[in-house]
């Protein structure tokens, strides 16, 4: 059914297709606006299909590898190389596949949304180029099996995202946000590259699987891990390095903000990948696990308390992003803290990791949805200041319904997906340390409280005279939001299906990297 050359080259096409789309879109954009819109839509559809194909292959056939430039795609160690993987290798295990699914899903709905929300701006050729470049680089971060390639894709995503954050350049504030984001990314990138240099200097390898087999936990390795954690925690917006998050999220166009959520979770993926797969065989688990837990708890508490007094709708949601990142760090951090103890890991560690990973997927869906609804509101009334909003429920009924779905999901109200993942986190973390679980629940209540505030002040109340002739958001924006809200409901109603088939393999792949190593190094 699917041609063989696509099947065997799917991982490379996953990155190649959006890149090709990105580079051709300025040329096609010169023909006409419609041609560009069609081209971008075609490219993102193709990318989405390839993404699902790659994920399907990775889940059914086990860890997928793709070697650039080799005679066959799976030839990771050529016979004349002396047992060393020398080429650039893409490695996709279950966790990467899950992240690819998340990226292409959110990317597709965001592009569909963006086709009408941003259709009247100038400078669109750069916008779509950067957008597709951003998607390609995030997919590259998930797919790569090479430390240095991860760095390259990280930097490409930083540059593309910074350009997109500062896209509304006529406002000086957007540029300020872009500068802050880029500066944090640049420092993070330097840290990360220094860590790569330290590891390469000791072990003469850059391949993650190759390094994982050799890593020792010497003081230099410790330094490298600390640098990696600091860089990626800053990039994923964990407290106390979250200051760029509200700035960048609130100033970027809504579609970009929804994608930025995925980008910051790509850094989170990197953090988990390097802690578990790269250092998993050498790590003293407790310290690093607790470091992630502390970062996570700080993010949860500070994020949500800072969100409550906010007046700008997207800034408020951005602080919630920080808070939700805390849940993921908490869940996976608990898993890391007990990774060495098989009994504890089996009793609650894996469940905590499943909760954390499930929350990554859920967060990308409902957070994307919420930012898109905020973008629809801002598009229609022209302000993001909640003090000047009110009574929009009369005119924007569909947006209101979609917002309610997202808000209930993020607050962890059953039967939406936020509850399912938070349920896993609460119960397993309670077995680890009850205090952490109670903090997580209180944060969830505060999340609900602050979204009640948004709902009340934006949609409730009498119709305001200045917004009497506000109309509903355009159709393609509603389609983009409806895709995400439909997925929020489906993952909420059938969590056991998703956990069993998608999340549990990912959590096991993270906890036990031997499959990852064996795929690259050949059964070692």
């Amino acid at each position: 059914m699917i041609p063989e050359f696509i099947l065997s080259n799917a991982p490379a096409l996953l990155i190649g297709v959006p890149l090709l789309g990105a580079f051709l879109s300025p040329l096609i954009g010169r023909l006409s606006r419609d041609a560009r819109a069609l081209w971008v839509l075609a490219i993102i559809t193709l990318t989405t299909l390839i993404g699902y194909l790659v994920a399907f292959l990775a889940y059914t056939k086990g860890t997928l590898i793709y070697v650039f430039g080799a005679a066959t795609p799976a030839l990771s160690i050529p016979p004349d190389s002396g047992g060393i993987p020398i080429r650039i290798i893409l490695t996709l295990d279950a966790l990467s596949a899950l992240m690819v699914i998340m990226t292409v899903t959110v990317g597709f709905s965001v592009i569909v949304y963006s086709l009408s929300s941003d259709s009247r701006r100038s400078g669109l050729e750069a916008y779509y180029t950067l957008f597709l470049l951003l998607i390609a680089s995030v997919l590259g971060m998930f797919a790569t099996g090479d430390l240095f390639n991860f760095f390259v894709f990280l930097e490409i995503s930083s540059l593309a995202a910074a350009g997109l954050v500062a896209y509304k350049v006529e406002k000086g504030r957007a540029v300020e946000a872009g500068l802050k984001f880029l500066m944090v990314s640049a420092i993070g990138g330097v840290f990360f590259l220094l860590a790569i240099g330290i590891l390469y200097g000791q072990y003469n390898a850059l391949n993650i699987a190759m390094l994982a087999g050799m890593i020792q936990w010497t003081p230099l390795d410790k330094l490298a891990l600390v640098l990696i954690i600091a860089a990626l925690a800053a990039k994923c917006g964990s407290v106390p390095m979250h200051f760029w998050t509200p700035d960048a999220y609130s100033m970027a166009p809504a579609a970009v903000t929804a994608m930025l959520v995925v980008v910051s979770q790509a850094s989170l993926y990197g953090l988990f990948r390097f802690c578990f797969t790269l250092y998993g065989l050498a790590l003293t688990y407790g310290v690093i696990g607790w470091a992630l837990i502390v970062l996570g708890v700080l993010s949860m508490v500070v994020g949500v308390t800072m969100a409550i007094p906010q007046k700008d709708i997207k800034r408020l949601m951005a602080y919630h992003s920080v808070s939700q990142t805390g849940y993921m760090l908490l869940g996976v951090g608990v898993g890391l803290a007990v990774l060495g103890d098989q009994a504890l890991l089996g009793s609650f560690g894996i469940t905590a990791m499943e909760g954390g990973i499930f929350h990554i997927l859920n967060n990308a869906l409902y957070k994307g949805l919420l930012f898109l609804t905020a973008g629809a509101i801002i598009l229609r009334i022209g302000t993001s200041d909640m003090n000047r909003m009110g009574g929009l429920g009369h005119n924007m009924k569909w947006t209101m319904i979609l917002f309610i779905i997202g808000a209930l999901a993020i607050a962890g109200i059953p039967p939406f997906n936020g509850f399912a993942s938070k349920f896993l986190i609460y119960e397993s973390v309670f077995a680890f340390n009850p205090v952490l679980s109670i903090i997580a629940m209180v944060v969830s209540i505060l999340t609900l409280a602050s979204f009640v505030k948004v709902f009340h002040s934006v949609f409730m109340g009498p119709q305001l005279p200045e917004y009497a002739d506000v109309s509903e958001a355009p159709g393609s924006m509603l389609i983009g939001m409806a895709i995400l809200s439909g997925l929020v409901i489906i993952t909420g109603l059938f969590p056991e299906f998703f956990v069993q088939h998608l999340i549990a393999p990912a959590a096991h792949a993270l906890a036990d990297p031997s499959g990852y190593l064996a795929a690259v190094l050949g059964g070692a």
Partner: protein, 157 residues
């Protein structure tokens, strides 16, 4: 308005421009034999554009070249690079495979063994990729220079 350097500077820029251009093209073409390659050669050429931009006023530079040319060059270079890489899929090998090496076709001679003065017609797809990258960097860095210059000009006005 007419922010331009003296005649001496402009004459020197005129004199240096072809030299820099040829050196940049040399670096691009010999990327697979000597240190350098697409990025370095493209950057060298872009300095020539920057030199002209500094010596002449912004309007004069815009009269000499069009931004569209650089945009096409930038995108075209990247598409060429990716196209060469993805063409391997159509030929039945993996992406980025060197399907031209040792075929006797374009850049397809076998590399002579031992110390040798360097045979330009070797390297397979690598010289082609260097050319693609060179075109891209040339266009992109020239665009960066021109856009920054336009930013400064708006401030002066």
């Amino acid at each position: 308005m007419l922010m331009r350097m003296s005649k001496i500077v402009r004459f020197a820029a005129d004199l240096l421009y072809p030299g820099i251009l040829i050196f940049g093209l040399y670096v691009i073409m010999h990327g697979h034999l000597t240190p350098g390659g697409g990025f370095q050669g493209g950057a060298v050429i872009a300095t020539a554009v920057a030199l002209v931009a500094v010596a002449y006023s912004y309007d004069e530079v815009l009269a000499m070249v069009r931004k569209l040319r650089f945009i096409v060059q930038e995108s075209g270079g990247l598409v060429l690079f990716l196209g060469i890489a993805l063409a391997a899929v159509a030929l039945g090998t993996t992406v980025f495979a060197n399907y031209l090496a040792n075929t006797g076709m374009l850049f397809g001679l076998a590399v002579p063994f031992g110390p040798n003065p360097g045979e330009l017609n070797t390297g397979g797809v690598m010289p082609l990729m260097n050319i693609a990258v060179g075109l891209e960097v040339w266009g992109a860095l020239a665009l960066v220079v021109l856009y920054m210059l336009s930013g400064i000009r708006e401030k002066e006005a």
